[in-house]
Symmetry: C2
Subunit: 253 residues, 2 copies
DNA sequence: CGGTCATGCCTGTATATACAGGTCGTGGCC
DNA sequence: GGCCACGACCTGTATATACAGGCATGACCG
């Protein structure tokens, strides 16, 4: 079969769908060995490169695990691993058609205490840079960003005008993000958050602790605090069929 | 160049690294056109299939955007798109070496109100299944799960013993998850949460609203509530260099 | 009996080639 | 001047082929 009839799905896609269907039907279970490339060549009448592409892409998507000499297997953690996206604050605000402004509260160099040193993966006592910035959406405070920056990676960090460029934008120019880590908590606002975000003591706040890496080095860590009544994190996979979402009304018993 | 000297990186990886480096150095900016496959063939002395693979994989990774007839371009949202993983509750608890138990509070069929109907993408008034389950970690309530299930996708949902299998596990067996959506909020606990999770009125809680799709259909939506003092969401990219993380101590001005 | 090596299976990488189809500029025709 | 056909260029898909290298099994030899 040299070419493919017009209107049909590409061969490699048909193979992928076939394997995914077998997994969905339970005929292939986590840990099971799936067809080898040569078996797919016989079964589908395609070339090995096409079978290779189907299996390789399913590996990238986390569905399969491959090992040279052994074979191709169904991944075990499949159903518990979700892929998410999170937008950054400035783009999110401008995406809503609102105006983003930032207020620089603190910009300083300080010696890293034990916690910051561990987070940045450097020795305690090394001088790091710290900024405290309040992000506003149409003049309403929406995020307090307390950030520590590794001076080895971004020595000129403090030279920026943070009312014009967000730390995130600058740092990802200096050092491309290759990995990151997030912790999300619901907290009571402390005095600083209450003052800078203008929230009441009984207003729950979201706090995100984020570390980002560039290669082997930790570039920065940040504590991002949001007023709980004005902000929620959104995270979705690619390929959501259609239609926007809406939070349901409270409907507790 | 037919083959590659032993010990060197594969050609397609060298091309990928080269392009990523150019982006990191700022020589290629979001929206810029990158080399076409034929240009890479000339520049690197590889075949077009190898160049194609390098560009295609960078597209899968979200670095590049490709369009037949037009060319290949640097993605614009690159720095704002993060890939995350989130574990599910039962695995998370057993991963900590603790015991997971579940208490079924409510299991019923009810007519979908407007909010639920929109969330499940069905007509209002259709009978859906609803469960309310409390998940406990070593007998401490850690999550309240209020879930609505699309009867078209999983008609036998209520037949399960939810003290033995989590809704998540069952549903992903019935219908493989192909897409999902999360909203994370910090909220004050309402009466139900306070009663079932045993939290005080001034204790902020995390609430996650999650919808999952299987193909075109919404399988289920769930409101997951966590006590803020006992729980945080963790989300990290693949390929974090090493070393576990630790939340830093509070260090506000 | 046990260690070593050969063999076969499988994946990883790479090339050369071919055709299909989208996009856009250019030049000719009306 | 405006419209349309054509060609240049680009990506998408697919094939046949080749060699390198990981892994397990089993045969052979000490």
């Amino acid at each position: 079969m040299k070419t493919r009839p017009v209107g049909e799905a590409p061969h490699y896609l048909r193979i992928k769908e076939n394997i995914i269907a077998l997994i969905a039907e339970g005929k292939l279970r986590p840990g099971d060995r799936v067809y080898s490339e040569s078996e797919l060549v016989s079964a589908f009448g395609v070339s090995r490169m096409t079978a290779n592409r189907a299996l390789r892409e399913l590996m990238f998507e986390g569905v399969l695990t491959r090992s040279a000499g052994l074979g191709t297997f169904v991944s075990s953690q499949r159903q518990d691993v979700d892929l998410l996206q999170i937008r950054n604050i400035a783009e999110e605000i401008s995406g809503r058609g609102h105006t983003h402004t930032a207020r620089l509260v603190v910009a300083e160099r300080i010696a890293a205490d034990a916690g910051v040193a561990q987070s940045l993966d450097i020795a305690a006592g090394i001088e790091v840079m710290r900024t405290l910035i309040v992000h506003l959406e149409d003049d309403q405070p929406i995020q307090m960003e307390e950030r520590y920056v590794n001076p080895v990676v971004a020595p000129d960090y403090l030279a920026n005008d943070f009312t014009r460029i967000t730390p995130n934008e600058y740092l990802s120019q200096v050092a491309p993000i290759t990995a990151f880590e997030h912790f999300v908590e619901a907290i009571r606002p402390d005095a600083t958050i209450r003052r800078l975000l203008g929230v009441k003591p009984d207003q729950p706040c979201l706090r995100v602790f984020r570390r980002t890496w560039s290669g082997e080095a930790v570039v920065t860590c940040a504590l991002l605090s949001y007023p709980g009544d004005k902000y929620r994190l959104e995270a979705r996979s690619r390929d959501i069929p259609a239609k926007p979402a809406r939070l349901p009304q409270e409907s507790m018993p």
